[in-house]
Symmetry: C2
Subunit: 338 residues, 2 copies
């Protein structure tokens, strides 16, 4: 079985997958598909070399079949079809407040340790969620990003009938929009790219291009002056941060999904005081988010095929990452690891 | 009975209080004491002239005795001792989400209409809360700012045993600290002024001067590495905003108490994502906050006398405001309106 090793900035090398016999509490998987995450692209760009120990197999948006189980494993058996929640919890810390998924000693499998762009992968059994027959292994590889979206919507405490504005219609933004629609929210997406906007409209979403239209006026119009109960900042940009405080009504919630690295952004804190709005950070997912994502994906209500830009083989991983760099508006690329 | 009219920037004029017979649903009060709020000082500085229609009586932190009631008033009777929640609710708006206290049509009594720096004051009966005999009229004038503190702590969802950092130890900061202590929180106050720090220490609070000490290291030390579950940004400054995201643990809450006008401040949004922290805007108070403030103040557990910097007569209101400008670290000034 093959494995794709990240070697150095801009370079993968395909070699053999190391077959690691599962120890106590571990499971060896035959990986089926693994999606390419934005963080994989960051690693490929060399900006996470301090954290990734090259040569290393990366990747974490995976579906798989159980090959063999180690001693003491009871939650899965060989042949089970599974997805992986790639979080390795360290020792609990008082700092964590019980939220181990963002805890002080959390390690991320596929970044801090060997990942899923390979045929054989050995992981802790507690990371595994079984998937039903109605969910294909290909769609299974979308469960991890869909669980991110479920977590974001859960943090935002979204209720049916609420107006929700998603700022940024990329892969995570569109998954958030799908989850919001399933929750019964009135969804509006703000996106600047016309190709993406066309796709979002095809999915049936109300869209705004804030470069061409007055975002606040349009949100007011689309919500009958009620404005948004909740906004999702997924753009990672200063204009997105400027917009997030403007589209809300009183006690509105903003979910901070984007990773705002670099210099701190300017935020209209007066608006927080004046309208008692909330900013809620959201990262990764908890166990329940994975279960919800599996349920939603299995329902068939979310057009998952439509957000798969391309599927390619493990042997061609270098070409896939090069194509992603040339196509910044692509949605989800899947690697077939079988 | 006398009244103090705000005339123009830097100038009050003392004249006669207009005796307005209460109409349906109104109550005429004999005002006892009225505290000076930061917003009264802003008005005195002329920065709110667009909103205040000079000559106008201002002031809203009042205690009073009911003089006469208009038709249909059943909640109070002449002779009752009361405090006033100075919010005039307009028509409900879908934008308000049911939170009328920060609603679109809210008017603030004492800013948008005649206030309490006068002997006779006529207000809607629904603004009144009766106070028990155990609470003096002087302490009654502190209920409004104490209700602000109760609201802030309520928005922060503070539980007994939690670590709370208050950034800024002025009048509102110290009231928040008192309420936090009553809730059973472990309170730490960050303040830069040494005179205020000495007073806060006398009240028994743990204090940090972030100019002289490493704030984050000290919070870690005082919380046994747990860091804060909740922080209150009361400083209104960029260093306060920088500090608020640094003192928290995972899923920590920040309550935005300060009014950050002017240019948007720089905020470390990455930290919101990484630790799933929350920023919660808090403004004014709801009915329950006034009831809680009355209960707390009546308990005698809060040393309210110690935060009264000075009491003076209505005739000398000009001198009081001039003194406040010379003494930026003063806490609460009371005007005796009797």
């Amino acid at each position: 079985m093959k494995a794709a090793y990240y070697k150095e900035k801009g370079k993968f090398e395909v070699g053999e997958s190391e077959i690691i016999a599962p120890k106590e509490g571990q499971v060896r998987l035959n990986v089926a598909y693994c999606g390419v995450c934005g963080s994989d692209v960051h690693i490929y760009h060399g900006v996470m070399d301090a954290r990734v120990k090259a040569p290393q197999v990366i990747g974490h948006e995976a579906s798989a079949t159980v090959a063999e189980v180690g001693p003491g494993v009871t939650n899965v058996k060989p042949g089970d079809r599974v997805v992986i929640r790639p979080l390795h919890f360290g020792a609990p810390h008082s700092f964590d407040n019980g939220y181990t998924h963002v805890g002080k000693n959390l390690k991320f499998i596929g970044i801090d340790s060997s990942g899923a762009f390979q045929g054989s992968w050995t992981v802790p059994s507690y990371t595994l969620h079984k998937i039903p027959d109605s969910l294909s292994l290909k769609h299974g590889a979308l469960i991890e990003p869909l669980a991110v979206a479920c977590h974001d919507v859960s943090v935002g405490r979204v209720k049916a009938g609420e107006n929700a504005v998603v700022i940024g219609g990329g892969p995570i933004g569109v998954l958030i929009a799908f989850v919001l629609r399933e929750k019964g929210a009135n969804v509006i997406i703000s996106e600047v790219n016309e190709t993406r906007l066309a796709m979002l409209k095809e999915f049936g979403f109300q869209t705004i291009n804030p470069i061409k239209e007055d975002l606040v006026a349009r949100v007011s119009e689309l919500t009958n002056e009620t404005m948004a109960h909740v906004a999702f900042e997924v753009s990672g940009s200063q204009p997105g941060v400027d917009a997030m405080t403007k589209v809300l009504n009183v006690r509105g919630r903003i979910v901070m999904v984007a990773i705002h690295g670099g210099e701190p952004k300017k935020v209209d804190l007066f608006k927080f005081f004046w309208q008692e709005i909330e900013l809620l950070g959201a990262r990764l997912y908890e166990e329940k988010d994975f279960e919800e994502a599996i349920k939603l994906a299995s329902s068939g209500n979310i057009p998952l095929d439509a957000i798969i830009t391309k599927e390619d083989s493990l042997e061609n991983i270098q070409g896939v990452f090069e194509e992603i760099d040339r196509n910044p508006i692509g949605m989800k690329y899947l690697i077939n690891c079988q």
